[in-house]
Amino acid sequence: MTTAEILSQAREEKRTVLTEIEAKQILGEAGINCTRTVLAASREEAVSISEEIGYPVVLKVSSVDITHKSDSGGVKVNLPDKAAVEKAYDEIMTSCRAYAPGADIEGVSVQGMAKAGIEIIMGMIRDASFGPVVMFGLGGVLVEVLKDVSFRIVPIDNNDAVDMTSEIQGKKLLEGYRGQESADVPCLQEMLVKLSDFVNDTPGIEEIDMNPVFAYSDGAVVVDARIILSSERVNF
């Protein structure tokens, strides 16, 4: 589905929360590299998609009613083979049905297991006065404890993106601290500009999280994404 189709379908269903698959589809269309994520509506489908994507894979529950996927036992990572995928599928269904009885569960999303990189968070929020604002920071524990992030008002240009990545306290970690792999910072800057362009051109988006983004010395990929739409009706 295209971005416009996903957004109008969500509107029709009176949803403001998009599924991870929808969010990644939209971000992908905006030119932002996301891990390949495909919906599987059955155990058999989960296996065939896993084989197509290639092991190891990640399975995540896909339901508009379950926003806390980990808390519900709806996430299984690093699944090496067919048996593991089948077992994970069943466990996710059992656990999530118990966690949220009556939830509309469309299946699981099957994703390639991205190799670990430097954890980055990017996001967007709509401020009542300043309008859409984009954020960049180091992900994981650093964002939670230190809130080491930078913001800019949309639209941003490449210079703004350069300022955003150089402004954070932990920028040394991007340069490959103590022999760690460095991050492809120009690629991250390009992603920020694309995120800004997308929200600038697309009304009705309230919040976006791209968390985590794994940054490598060559490129970066969005591993998990979330998009929240504005609750008021917006004409696309």
């Binding site: 929020i125 401020d127 300043f130």
Partner: protein
């Protein structure tokens, strides 16, 4: 449209009074005492003459056209009625100074809405309510009595609070401490807001520095757009109240839970190239530095002192504010070798030179040469309150050297005899930015350097 506020050909004061001390009197008196050369129409149903001007019963009775109306009426209800009369008269610009509107909540909100409705319907621009309007050479609508003429300077101050803006204006004009061009208080901003003024003053050539205090940002997206354009041409100093760390709203995303009003405002300031002030004194002090000093090409500072210990403290402060203290070139070092007991370093300690050739000659030679060094972009001059310092200030020796070298300086005064120190602060303070502490001077200079470097990049 904004021209009608700042360059009206005729002005009516509604709620004018003949009783000295009353607000309606002060406003008329301020207009009369300014250089305003157009028609003045006091309006009051119960008076015939105020300060020699014929008084009209209502705005509709005024025979000629009215460019600008200033109202200072006792109740919001009367103000709304007057607003309708202004619409009937065809007035296009109104300054509402009275309080009792949205800032009060309740009924006040609906009175303000009625004002906005009348304004929209009739294409009227409204400044206020709850403001003190404009202080300028051309026209003064403020409620503080002005004791001197407003200088035709190069600085505009924009504030929300009427009392504060008017009070600051009155102080600045009285003390001649800042070359203001205009002070505007926009109060509740029911129509005219910071964006209108920023855009207007951005295009006014005589305005070289804009200093702005906001309690709330009306339209941040537009502010970002306009400020980016204006700050590329002239410095915009910005102080924002109500900056909180609390999340902007109940957010569903991680991003939303981290985003706070303070962080977003800070981002906008960085993104646009505005200069963030942290209090009202800085709003004024930074404006002083930017309006009197040329822009530095870099952040390489000479610290000029007569006491080593002070120099050390300033060096530390400079480092903390992103300023560098480079060495002088070999040429300067050689030239000044007889003026120092050890080769000239930075901080430049003038003590030896003063004991050898006296204070004035030290300024004219030693200081001049060090400040002129090509490695130096700007200077922090630390003066002490002594008789010879006062003499140098009164003979304008320091001022002249600074002008000749044509690099920016800030002066810090921290010690000395009070009777000299106060004179030096006041007299030198009219020509150069003088600070009563080291940290305030260093911080102001760091802002100037930051802006100077940004401008270099923009023009590169």
């Amino acid at each position: 449209m904004m021209e009608l506020f700042f360059k009206p050909k005729s002005v009516a004061v509604i709620g004018a009074s003949g009783t000295p001390g009353k607000l309606g009197y002060v406003i008329v008196k301020n207009i009369v005492d300014s250089d305003f050369a157009g028609e003045v129409y006091p309006v009051n149903p119960k008076s015939d003459e105020i300060l020699g001007y014929k008084v009209y019963r209502s705005v509709t009775e005024i025979p000629g056209e009215v460019d600008l109306v200033v109202t200072a009426l006792p109740t919001p209800k009367l103000t709304v009625a007057t607003m309708q009369e202004c619409a009937n008269k065809g007035v296009k610009a109104v300054i509402i100074e009275s309080a009792g509107f949205a800032e009060m909540g309740g009924e006040g909100v609906s009175f303000q809405q009625q004002i906005v409705d009348i304004a929209k319907k009739n294409d009227i621009r409204v400044m206020g309510p709850n403001c003190s309007g404009i202080v300028s050479r051309n026209i003064v609508t403020s409620i503080y009595p002005m004791t001197k003429k407003v200088p035709n300077g190069n600085v505009v101050l924009i504030g929300q609070s009427g009392l504060l803006a008017a009070g600051m204006a009155s102080d600045i004009v009285e003390n001649e401490s800042l070359a203001v061009n205009k002070v505007c208080s926009i109060g509740n901003k029911c129509d005219v807001n910071e964006n209108d003024l920023l855009e207007y003053f951005g295009n006014e050539d005589e305005v070289e520095v804009i200093s702005m205090y906001l309690e709330t940002v009306t339209d941040g997206r537009n502010l970002t757009r306009i400020a980016k354009k204006v700050a590329a041409q002239k410095p915009v100093i910005f102080l924002s109240g109500g900056r909180t760390e609390a999340g902007a709203k109940a957010a569903m995303s991680h991003t939303g839970s981290i985003a706070s009003n303070a962080k977003i405002v800070e981002a906008a300031v960085k993104q646009t190239g505005m200069i963030m002030a942290d209090d009202f004194t800085e709003l004024k002090d930074f404006a002083k530095v930017f309006s009197t000093q040329p822009l530095p090409k870099g952040n390489r500072i000479a610290v000029i002192t007569l006491a080593g210990s002070v120099g050390v403290n300033v060096s530390d402060l400079c480092a903390g504010h992103g300023l560098e203290l480079p060495k002088m070139t070999p040429e300067t070092t050689e030239k000044l070798k007889d003026m120092f007991d050890t080769p000239v370093s930075n901080p430049v300690d003038l003590y030896f030179s003063v004991t050898k050739i006296g204070f004035t000659k030290t300024l004219e030679n030693t200081f001049y040469d060090a400040f002129s060094d090509p490695n130096i972009d700007a200077a922090v001059i630390i003066l002490a309150g002594f008789e010879y310092t006062q003499e140098a200030v009164q003979k304008k020796i320091i001022q002249k050297i600074v002008r000749d070298v044509d690099k920016p300086v800030v002066v810090c005064m921290i010690v000395g005899y009070n009777r000299y120190k106060n004179v030096i602060m006041d007299e030198l303070g009219k020509d150069l930015p003088v600070f009563p502490s080291l940290i305030s001077g260093v911080k102001a200079l760091s802002k100037l350097c930051e802006y100077g470097i940004r401008q270099q990049k923009l023009s590169a």
